[in-house]
């Protein structure tokens, strides 16, 4: 049978009987989860800052080396509340990258502010300090920088720019977790800027079903965040400021704790997975991997670049792979500024957003899956002309 007819896109059996995606989905110690849950049931304490949440916060403080860790029902609430609290009074704009999580502009608006997009560094895909310097003005309320899986922010430059301008710097650091900023120091991700926010969503390194947390060394901000996640309650459950219900419950915290113990093993497995990708894909000249030289080393996402001279476009490859039950995604594409009328062009963002695929990754993906993906790519290379024709665009 030729590759053309065996492709699932053209009616063949999918390569993977069970879908594989790009989510971590770690569940390393279910028995520990059940034991923690049982303790919670005995205490009849499932939320409102129970002891499991306390323990998780303490363990995360230790991980990040910060004075404070405040857990939230998810990372989005942490970002909204932190932005609202940190925003420079009288200013309305939050500068952020466009090549990032699509929820961020919504969160900025929930905080009563407006997003302003900034171009990125071509290597790390993080905020370009040069572009940021051009955008900061009197209407800048905050900078929301994002650490990426393949590269951490240029934290020294971002801190210098924001400190000079008197603007808070909030980091969405979920992909930087367990990493270290090595420029100019050796600080844990989570310990720089005004505060950092992390996710405990199942798709990320630490699976807490859903959840998030904020780290900071700012005592006042920490006290505010603790109040605001619980209706702004001060003493005796009386609200002393606006808040909402952004509490992490103890069952989610139990899941996060049970996986946090295995963080280094999860990362080591991701590193092995990335090494397999590099090994099995090394003969394919028309794809390459993002530069991870400045990455936090967690490899929770595998970013595959489709070269300009490839026999397939990035989007054609995505169609082919998804039909095979490899549920790959375009990497932050289209970028967020395309949905905001009137935003000026961001050339590096636009370019990066056209070329990358987020390949299958995480605990459900094993070495054999990666080998089979590489074999598929090799067949696609060999039969490029015939497949191109079936794709309806004629031979290239």
């Amino acid at each position: 049978m030729s590759t053309t007819t065996s492709l699932a896109l053209f009616g063949g059996q999918p390569l993977f009987a069970q879908p594989i995606a790009n989510e971590q989905l770690a569940n390393r110690d279910p028995e520990r989860f059940f034991a923690l849950a049982e303790d919670s049931f005995k205490r009849r304490r499932l939320t409102n800052q129970g002891p499991v949440v306390d323990e998780l916060e303490q363990r995360l403080c230790d991980l990040h080396g910060t004075r404070h860790c405040i857990a939230f029902a998810n990372a989005c609430f942490a970002i909204i509340l932190a932005l609202r609290e940190l925003a420079r009074p009288g200013a309305s704009r939050v500068i952020l990258p466009s090549l990032t999580f699509r929820g961020l502009p919504h969160l900025i608006r929930w905080a009563g502010l407006e997003p302003q997009f900034c171009d990125i560094d071509p290597l790390t895909h993080t905020l370009s300090p040069t572009c940021l310097a051009q955008l900061i003005d009197s209407n800048t309320a905050a900078v929301l920088a994002v650490d990426n899986v393949n590269g951490l922010c240029d934290i020294d430059a971002l801190e210098r720019l924001t400190l000079d301008a008197g603007i808070p710097l909030l980091l969405d650091a979920v992909y930087g977790i367990a990493g270290r900023y090595t420029t100019g120091g050796d600080d844990n991700v989570g310990s720089r800027g005004s505060a950092s926010v992390f996710s405990l969503n199942a798709s990320t390194l630490i699976n807490g079903f859903e959840g998030g947390y904020l780290t900071t060394n700012d005592d006042q901000l920490a006290a505010k965040m603790r109040r605001q996640r619980n209706f702004g309650f001060g003493q005796d459950a009386v609200s002393v400021e606006l808040g909402l219900n952004a509490k992490l419950n103890d069952l989610h915290a139990a899941m996060a704790l049970s996986n946090l113990e295995h963080l280094h093993a999860i990362i080591a497995d991701n590193q092995r997975r990335f090494a397999s990708y590099q090994q099995y894909f090394q003969d394919l000249a028309w794809v390459s991997f993002a530069d991870y030289s400045q990455s936090p080393g967690t490899f929770s996402q595998i970013l595959l670049k489709v070269e300009a001279d490839a026999p397939y476009s990035r989007d054609e490859l995505i169609r082919i792979l998804r039909a095979e039950n490899a549920l790959v995604q375009p990497y932050y594409s289209p970028p967020l500024h395309h949905q905001e009328p009137g935003t000026r062009a961001l050339p590096i963002t636009d370019s990066i957003s056209r070329h990358f695929i987020q390949m299958p990754a995480g605990d459900p993906v094993d070495e054999m899956d990666i080998r089979r993906l590489a074999q598929l790519f090799k067949r696609l290379e060999q039969d490029a002309a015939a497949i191109g024709e079936r794709l309806g665009r004629g031979p290239q």
């Binding site: 989905l25 569940n27 279910p30 989860f33 059940f34 849950a37 049982e38 049931f41 009849r44 304490r45 499932l46 939320t47 409102n48 029902a73 998810n74 990372a75 989005c76 999580f101 699509r102 929820g103 919504h106 608006r109 929930w110 969503n201 199942a202 699976n207 079903f209 859903e210 209706f231 702004g232 009386v238 609200s239 002393v240 400021e241 606006l242 808040g243 909402l244 219900n245 509490k247 419950n249 103890d250 069952l251 989610h252 899941m255 949905q339 009328p341 459900p364």
Partner: protein, 382 residues
Amino acid sequence: MSDKPAFTAPLPVGQLNMPDPGEFREMFEGIFARRRYTHHGPLELAVDEALAGHFAVRHAIAVVNGTLALMLLLRAMELRGEVIVPSFTFPATVQSLVWAGLRPVFCDVDPATQMLDAKRVEALITADTSAILGVHIWGRGCDPHGLARLAKDRSLQLLFDAAHATSCTFEGQRIGGFGRAEIFSFHATKILSGAEGGCITTNDDALASRLRTLRSFQASDEHAAGILRMNAGLSEAQAAMILLGLRHLPRFIEENRERYELYRQGLEGINGLEFIDYAAGEQSNYQFAVVRIEPEILGMSRDELLEWLQARNVLARRYFHPGVHRTEPFASDMAARLSVTDELCQVLLQLPTGQAITHDHVRSICALIQSISTEQQPTNTT
């Protein structure tokens, strides 16, 4: 009377119904086998369907907690300007309005029902009013027909905070289908618990569709600019807890009813203390035991009684206290005068209820209160 605790372990207010460990393990092993933890998993979908059935509505949209249910609903209804709301409620009712860019206008309540009624609301309607947000306190219907007529006459939207009202009826009709939409809470202290959780119920197809888009950042058909979305769906863990709770809901209600009746009987005949019989004539979840104190007759204030009970490990609560209009961010820039609300906040007390409270506990609490009332009342001191 001895000042020693009457109970060795504290007796809390709140349902705190825990799942059966075997059922819990089975449900969670299913989640782990599917490797589906969040983002519209099969259990979230099952919860939406089960809740729509339970609340007798076309749509239930489950979310992370009751506060987010209200915040998303207010946004989805695209309200503007002012919303008339009680101050005798949990602070989240009113704080949600601020998150939706709306201005609360506080309305006083009927002293008998502790809730809004159409007459009081009507007096506060202005050209800037866009909606009425009623709250079904203790699960008792908040004048749903009167408010519906008023809303229709004045072209206003009507919605309800039904956080207390799971499984309750008003004039025989299941709460959930009143107004344009209602929201519920599945906090651990409520009769149906997802540890945290909430939902919106509505018979409005378009509103339901919009809410399903708003509750997550997942890919959706609806991409209209200006719609503010949120990561607010239910995790599979929360969904599992709610489904387990629904299995045993009739039993939880029956156990609550037994405690409620014991309180009602046990507190009878105390001068200056009235058991609020909010469940009379309706189906109720009986999840609260609320008493009203008349300090002059009882011989002690609500706060004195509270302190006395707490010293004996009876962790009764002031609920609500103070009125939301006296809390931030509202107290500083509003001058609402709500005499009934202020008085209720001084005289109501919630007694321990829920799965942790046995019949003997209730009898002992009633006996304690009987004893202090006998001690305090001037007629009995000779």
